[in-house]
């Protein structure tokens, strides 16, 4: 078969596909996609980076399913087997654990860059809402996935995390039972979290991700109002291939970082969960829950006649709602005017999270 006829065959397959799927239209749209170039362009890479890490999670997650057994009697042992006996089992699990952490980290950066660069302004308010939904889903992935190895740390982290839901007024108690699959954290909780982690959340996250990516394509990248106001013409870079190739360099670097982290700091397992053991000293949640954990630790038992933890949880809920509704609250930004309030709010939020995380990792556990 000569090269020419091969090319002709490929072209024929291509046109066959095109007449059915309409690839040419997609290709033209992709060729026309452009990325604004200005001093904040670097922040545009974080969404794609988060997407890449999510895909790593899907891939490694599917591989983990081949060995994992979701029951209180077998979960810990199956992870132990995976780590010790299965070839490269340690690597797959460590990459899953590290990519989860990196994904949440890039998600935080993506969130704060969108907040501080006012990328949420109409018509991108729905993009913001879908992104906040994805943020919540990512935290849900982290929380449910943490329990699955059924080790001591995970057991108590889940106990506290679900108890926090139970503190909510009115619906708390029933919600707690639905989450735990009973009154206590048990094997029933494990199977529930497993179903949520590997089936429910991926399905919902897929839908949110589809909407989010579609909206980003539809509206294009947001140019920060500061850059718009400066009046200088904004240069543009073609997405294909210029921006995508830059994206790929970042993804390659992330993959290298993942491999290095997994090799030099593989995921730990610890001891098997025991419902009839005291919580071990030095117990900590995942780092991205540390600031909430530390805040709950520092609140006094009673504030204004209410239980301290309820005040804390209501406070976090209120702050979350405020952040969610920012596109509709920030009127000046909608008109393209500067709004220092949002900048200070964003910086204050960053400082709060960094400070409490720092205290959480350095404070003596008994002080």
């Amino acid at each position: 078969m000569s090269a020419v006829s091969l090319r002709q065959r490929l072209a024929r397959v291509g046109s066959w596909l095109d007449s059915r799927v309409g690839l040419a239209g997609l290709w033209t749209a992709a060729r026309h996609k452009e990325i604004p170039v200005h001093r904040h362009t670097v922040w545009y890479y974080l969404g794609g980076m988060t997407l890449f890490l999510f895909l790593v999670q899907v891939g490694t997650g599917v591989l983990l399913l081949f060995y994992y057994r979701p029951s209180a009697d077998e979960a810990f042992e199956s992870v132990q087997f995976l780590m010790a006996e299965v070839q490269f089992g340690w690597l797959i699990r460590s990459i899953h654990a590290w990519a989860a952490n990196l994904m949440i980290f890039t998600l935080f950066l993506h969130f704060f860059s969108a907040l501080l660069l006012r990328a949420y302004r109409a018509p991108r308010d729905l993009t913001w809402l879908s992104g906040m939904g994805l943020f919540g889903l990512a935290l849900g992935f982290g929380f449910t996935g943490y329990l699955l190895p059924w080790n001591e740390l995970a057991y108590f982290a889940t106990k506290v995390g679900t108890q926090i839901v139970g503190v909510m007024p009115l619906v708390g108690r029933s919600l707690l039972r639905v989450l735990r699959g009973g009154d206590e954290v048990s094997g029933a909780t494990l199977t529930r979290f497993y179903a949520v982690h590997v089936a429910l959340l991926p399905a919902v996250a897929g839908a949110f991700l589809g909407l989010h990516l579609y909206l980003v394509q539809k509206h294009g990248m947001s140019v920060p109002p500061g850059v718009e106001r400066s009046g200088a013409p904004v240069r543009r870079m073609r997405f294909l291939p210029n921006f995508l190739l830059r994206d790929l360099v970042g993804w390659l670097a992330a993959l290298a970082a993942l491999a290095a982290l997994a090799a030099f700091a593989p995921a730990e397992l610890g001891g098997k969960a025991d419902p009839f053991a005291s919580a071990p000293a030095g117990i900590k949640p995942e780092w991205y829950f540390m600031f909430t954990f530390q805040t709950l630790k520092m609140l006094p038992p009673h504030i204004l006649g209410l239980e301290g933890e309820m005040v804390g949880i209501l406070g976090f809920g209120l702050a979350g709602l405020l952040v969610l509704l920012i596109p509709f609250l920030d009127r000046p930004a909608a008109r393209g005017e500067p709004n220092r309030l949002i900048t200070w709010f964003g910086i204050g939020l960053i400082l709060f999270i960094v400070a409490l995380t720092y205290i959480g990792y350095t404070a003596s556990p008994t002080k």
Binding site: K159, Q163, G166, V178, F276, L296, E309
Partner: protein, 151 residues
């Protein structure tokens, strides 16, 4: 708007719309209700036992130590004070439900999760816990320790 082109709403049309709407609503409810009930776990048979005999002898617990025991489906904590007296509590922290422990170095009960402190009467004396630990009664019956709810 093409409203002008559509025929005027007859009461029969409205009735059919209403019928269709309620049927669809009923169908959605008929699907959601069993799913919702399915997700709520059935009530677990609460351990009827109001007393439990500890699986270890009084002498196994030296003064100034504590040990977790099973009280029905929940953990309890029995503490032998420095003076040799026995006390028992629910081991579930009143803050966010972690399992507490006796700290010989502090001489009282401590929760590792959020640094809650309780004295040997179960009272919350430091940290975030909003209420005291539920206290149980300990009785020595021959060579056995029996823990019971209430006094």
């Amino acid at each position: 708007m093409t409203q002008d082109a559509s025929p005027p709403q007859s009461s029969r049309r409205r009735f059919l719309d209403w019928l269709l709407g309620t049927s669809v609503g009923g169908l959605v409810l008929a699907v959601l209700y069993p799913v919702g009930r399915y997700l709520v776990p059935p009530p677990a048979a609460e351990s009827a036992a109001s007393a439990v005999t500890l699986p270890f002898k009084p002498d196994d617990l030296v003064p100034n130590t504590g040990r977790i025991f099973k009280f029905g489906s929940r953990p309890g904590l029995v503490v032998r004070g420095p003076g040799g007296e026995f006390r028992a509590f629910s081991a579930t922290c009143t803050h966010l439900g972690c399992t507490v422990q006796y700290r010989p170095d502090l001489g009282h009960i401590w929760c590792a999760c959020h640094n809650g402190h309780f004295d040997l009467n179960g009272r919350n004396i430091g940290g975030p816990p909003p209420a005291p630990l539920e206290a149980y009664t300990v009785r020595a019956r021959g060579d056995e320790l029996v823990v019971s709810r209430g006094t």
